[in-house]
């Protein structure tokens, strides 16, 4: 069980990448809103889409971790 838990923990490390990605995207979005406040709506839509796509990697990591625990650590 110990090594399986470790494997699941490594899979969840994908969250770091998603965090960095969303942080960068938000930084750029705030910058561009400050530069061009009139394009706020468009920027928000693009940011939301980008965040959802970047977040997906973290979600995949979570699903894989869960699958590792469920299929290997069950019995």
């Amino acid at each position: 069980m110990g090594i399986i838990a470790l494997g699941a923990a490594v899979a969840v490390l994908t969250g770091a990448g998603a965090g960095i990605g969303i942080g960068l995207a938000t930084a750029k979005a705030t910058e561009s809103i400050a530069r061009q406040p009139e394009a706020k709506g468009d920027i928000r839509t693009a940011l939301l889409l980008g965040c959802a796509l970047a977040e997906a990697t973290a979600i995949y990591g979570f699903v894989i971790a869960l699958l590792i625990i469920l299929s290997l650590g069950g019995k």
């Binding site: 009139e38 706020k40 709506g41 939301l48 889409l49 997906a56 979570f62």
Partner: protein, 240 residues
């Protein structure tokens, strides 16, 4: 604790239909029926006495539908108007099923089979719209590019996993919070994880489906696209 969580993750069978050796009906299916019934009932109630000049609840209904119509037509273009209804159905159904956890039901989207079905429907819709708009010959030709063939697998897989993972992740975090702090805090956390995240995922699902569809609808006419973009820009600046 761990076993309790694992038990929550399982998909329970609600009842078994006693024909053909018994067909098991899972919880997600029953909750989907409840959602369908509620949505159909609400639709009937709200569209019963429609007037030319809207008053009361009709104003809210029209504003909501206008918002959805504009959102999808902005992405698909005027050509995609006939596909707007099914995308709206997607966003309303997924939105409701994601936030139904608030009312004490098990969200159907927590079952991977439901999200897989939704993603499969979405990708069939995209391909069907491609065939309707451009004919089966061009559709078959598009697979000469192996990336398109790969997209046929990766797109539904990522749609399915994104929705499932998000709902399941929110569910697990909520269970953990309930376990650690039973009072007060779960209400605040639920507002984010159940309401905000659920609606956001419904939005993302429909948004991505319509983006794939827009790609299928107007891939070849580069000239038409450029003219449209040039027209769009000044409008945006003028509007805000």
């Amino acid at each position: 604790m761990a076993e309790e969580l694992m038990e929550q993750l399982d998909n329970h069978t609600a009842f078994v239909i006693p024909i053909l050796g018994g067909i098991p009906v899972p919880d997600s299916c029953v909750v989907t029926w409840i959602i369908m019934a509620a949505l159909v009932l609400l639709s009937i109630i709200f569209t019963r006495k429609l007037k030319k000049v809207p008053t009361g609840s009709q104003c809210i209904l029209e504003a909501f539908m206008d918002f959805l119509d504009n959102f999808f037509i902005n992405i698909l273009g005027e050509k995609g108007r006939k596909y707007v209804q099914i995308l709206e159905t997607f966003i309303i159904y997924i939105g409701v099923s994601n936030i139904i956890g608030v009312f004490g039901f098990v969200p159907p989207t927590k079952d991977i089979n439901v999200t897989a079905g939704l993603a499969g429907m979405a990708i069939i819709l995209v391909q069907a719209s491609f065939i309707i708009e451009k004919g089966p010959l061009k559709w078959a030709k598009s697979f000469l590019n192996p990336i398109n063939l790969l997209d046929l697998v990766t797109r539904p897989l990522s749609l399915c996993m994104r929705l499932f993972g998000n709902v399941l992740g929110a569910f697990v975090v909520m269970e953990l919070i309930k376990h650690v702090v039973p009072g007060g805090v779960p209400v605040i956390a639920s507002a984010y994880f159940d309401l905000f995240d659920g609606l956001l995922q419904a939005y993302v699902f429909a948004f991505l489906t319509s983006l794939y569809m827009a790609e299928a609808l107007e891939e070849e006419e580069h000239e038409g696209k450029k003219v449209k973009k040039a027209k769009k820009k000044p409008q945006l600046h003028g509007g805000k």
